[in-house]
Assembly symmetry: C2
Homo-oligomer: 453 residues x 2
């Protein structure tokens, strides 16, 4: 069979990986796919740099539109990033009847509904294994491997930069700002790290996973997003003493539905935030820039997928897996393909109605609260009394020895409370009441806690 | 589209899971697959019991041949087990043009070549996700998710019974025999546990994974198989002190090939045996009856897949994923399907020649040796001298305090040596020489060690 013809838009770090791996493993890949996969054109503003990467093996163009409009190209790999030009190019490629492979999580999390609808109408595939957790085949596991299951929840370490920072904070007992600078020096964090450290990148990925796990439309705008910038070494240490690690998790969880008692809220929790995780869980031991995703299905139970979440060749591994899938199904009846969001489009529409993304106040989870309090009799009773009044039960309390505050003479202490499951809306109210107590001397630190059992 | 018609041969524990999950999640599964999947007939010698499971929803027959020969059935799910009747039924189903889903690792590891060839000729699929690591979609990850990679090695905890026993031995400091009895009482080990504890079950699974990872024929007869029956609590404790856990691993590793220096052996190591694994690796922390498989690819780096390796519904999760794959591709051109052993059949034949399964003496790994020696001056020098003469370097030595042997007056001690990588053939020779020393008082314990880095 004729090799499938591929054009790469924006050949940079990932594109170079795709080119190198396709060349190095071309024979194995052809023997698996049953046909060759050839990169015949690449685009990059700096054409000379692109020429250095691909040599004479492919056309090099400055304008990516020259690839999108080239009738000889079967699949377009979009590696430009961002949401403006990438969106235009992807839609134009689809309109031209080309299949698309993209690693662009932001594009799909924000414009996925438009893009998947256009692709469905045109009968082409848009594949995005590389958009979530790099080389880990998590999209394939969710869409195909676990297809028998009603997915109950998933929780993932899906941003390598923040996991590297949290690992370093714990190992070295340092605060966020110090470690961020080190991560930037080592190349683990970008010069402008906002998207990573504020949780936005993880939220893009969690949005995509929530859509394919539950068959709902992508709804990035409804995701709750909280980063790691406010975490201190002190909370990591206290968590450790209580048997927990702190990880930035992207979580998507089904609530209610079949078997729900009447009146219970039905929908999907979609949230990214730092979380206490029991230290004995495998995912708590995922260190450095590695990624891992846990998926809980009603039949399979707990599963976990681990690997590199970024980098040139790990990401290329996912891009090429998509190319092979498309090469295989390219000429087949579209009905034989796996639906973009795992469920048939009409089911996605109706699920979207039945399973709305819930407001954060409706989230049910447990909490770590740290209060800086005056070391006086009765403070703990007052604080725990407020929880009791709200019907929130306590799992554990850790009270540190009082320490003198320099220059003030008075003594202060940290009280740490772990709660059992409760509604976020309920704990918000109690935190506001606690904060108003004269004996609570600093802003209360609240970190969510996930047992992942 | 008309629901796909499924017949189940041998509806027992797994079959019940398949029936229950298909019923419970029928709507979600139909929305994913794009068509319904219906079990229309089941077989079991005890028809009354089968009737209790399926009620009136399916025909119940005593003779599985009534299903294989039923022209209305599209897919046969073989859950009878064993190699005789199961082989006949699977071949007959293929000859009748039916697709087959099986959880039978023994059948495929031993008769896979014959079965896959028959299926290829007839243009039907034989799917076997459930044959390896239960609900973990490891077959899909290897065949599709990592298709860009030249796989370097894989190593898995792929037998829950032995992992449960090893976890208990470590937790409680007990010897093998005691824990086996407990495992049998709790239902984690069968009345005749031979296939599990001797490593045969793990070797069946490792054989299947080696075939799809490297595109070679299944060659169970060439696998090295060693179980856990000779492990003592003492070795688990010493391993712990040196920073290792002991796990029963199924390993398949590529040696030589592209980039090999001339004269280096090329081929595949295929082996199951207890292994020391660094305690900090995720896989070392997989406890109880859980399974996990690590896969190292040249592009993706290290990945890991974790979940339940057995049980009614986890296995059913894998069977149903295969049913959905087949339902999807059933009417498609066979060229669009994923090849049985991940590579096109002609490539499997030629890989089989280029990459033979190596004899165990050619394995290269490192070793834990425990010697029971007389507590005399010069013993350690003598023992380590033998290693040096053979060119085997030492990574670590642990010498325990001497203990009195009751009633003899003389003192004995344990010497533990960790080696660096060497050929199995070379260490065999050294162990024989050590064993012949008069100061070595008991059979030497040798356990292989895998760094998995």
């Amino acid at each position: 069979m004729k090799p499938i013809q591929v054009g790469v838009l924006g050949i940079g770090t990932v594109g170079t990986g795709v080119f190198e791996v396709l060349r190095r493993n071309q024979e194995e890949i052809r023997h698996r796919a049953g046909r060759g996969i050839e990169i015949v054109a690449v685009s990059r503003r700096d054409r000379a740099r692109a020429r250095e990467i691909v040599g004479d093996s492919a056309r090099v163009v400055e304008d990516p539109r020259d690839i999108v409009r080239n009738p000889g190209i079967d699949i377009v790999v979009e590696l430009i990033g961002g949401c403006t030009l990438a969106r235009e190019l992807v839609l134009e490629a689809i309109a031209a009847g080309k299949h698309v492979v993209t690693a662009n999580k932001a594009l799909l999390a924000v414009h996925g509904t438009e893009i998947f609808e256009a692709a469905h109408k045109k009968g082409v595939m848009v594949a995005f294994e590389a958009a979530v957790a790099g080389g880990i085949p998590i999209i394939k596991a969710l869409r195909e491997g676990l297809t028998a299951n009603s997915i109950q929840w998933l929780a993932g370490i899906i941003n390598g930069t923040t996991n590297f920072i949290l690992s370093e904070m714990r190992d070295k007992g340092l605060d966020f700002d110090v470690v961020l600078k080190e991560a930037q020096r080592l190349g683990y964090a970008e010069a402008d790290p906002t998207f990573d450290i504020e949780g936005v990148d993880a939220a893009h990925k969690a949005t995509l996973m929530s859509a394919i796990a539950f068959g709902i439309p992508v709804q990035f705008d409804k995701a709750y997003v909280e980063g790691i910038t406010k975490l201190g070494a002190r909370d990591i240490r206290y968590a450790e003493q209580l048997g927990y690690r702190i990880k930035l998790l992207g979580i998507a969880k089904r609530r209610g539905g079949t078997g729900a008692t009447s009146g219970e809220v039905s929908g999907i929790e979609l949230r990214v935030h730092p979380s206490l995780v029991p230290a004995k869980r495998l995912i708590a031991n995922v260190e450095g820039a590695m990624n891992a995703v846990m998926v809980q299905g009603d039949a399979v139970g707990t599963t976990l997928y681990y690997g590199k979440g970024a980098g040139s060749e790990p990401t290329a591994s996912a891009v090429i897996a998509d190319l092979v899938d498309i090469a295989r199904l390219h000429t087949a009846d579209p009905g034989h393909r796996v639906p973009h969001l795992a469920f048939q489009p009409d089911a996605v529409l109706s699920n979207g109605g039945d399973l709305p993304v819930l407001p954060m106040a409706e989230t049910v989870t447990s909490y770590y609260l740290r209060l800086r309090v005056a070391d006086q009799a009765g403070v703990l009773a007052k604080v725990t009394g407020l929880l009791a009044e709200a019907g929130i039960s306590i799992d554990a309390v850790l009270q540190r020895e009082a320490d003198e505050v320099a220059g003030e003479g008075a003594t202060q202490t940290d009280v740490i409370i772990l709660t059992h499951d409760t509604r976020e809306g309920a704990i918000d109210g109690v935190i506001a009441q606690m904060q108003a107590l004269p004996t609570v001397l600093a802003p209360i630190v609240r970190i969510r806690k996930e047992e992942l059992a």
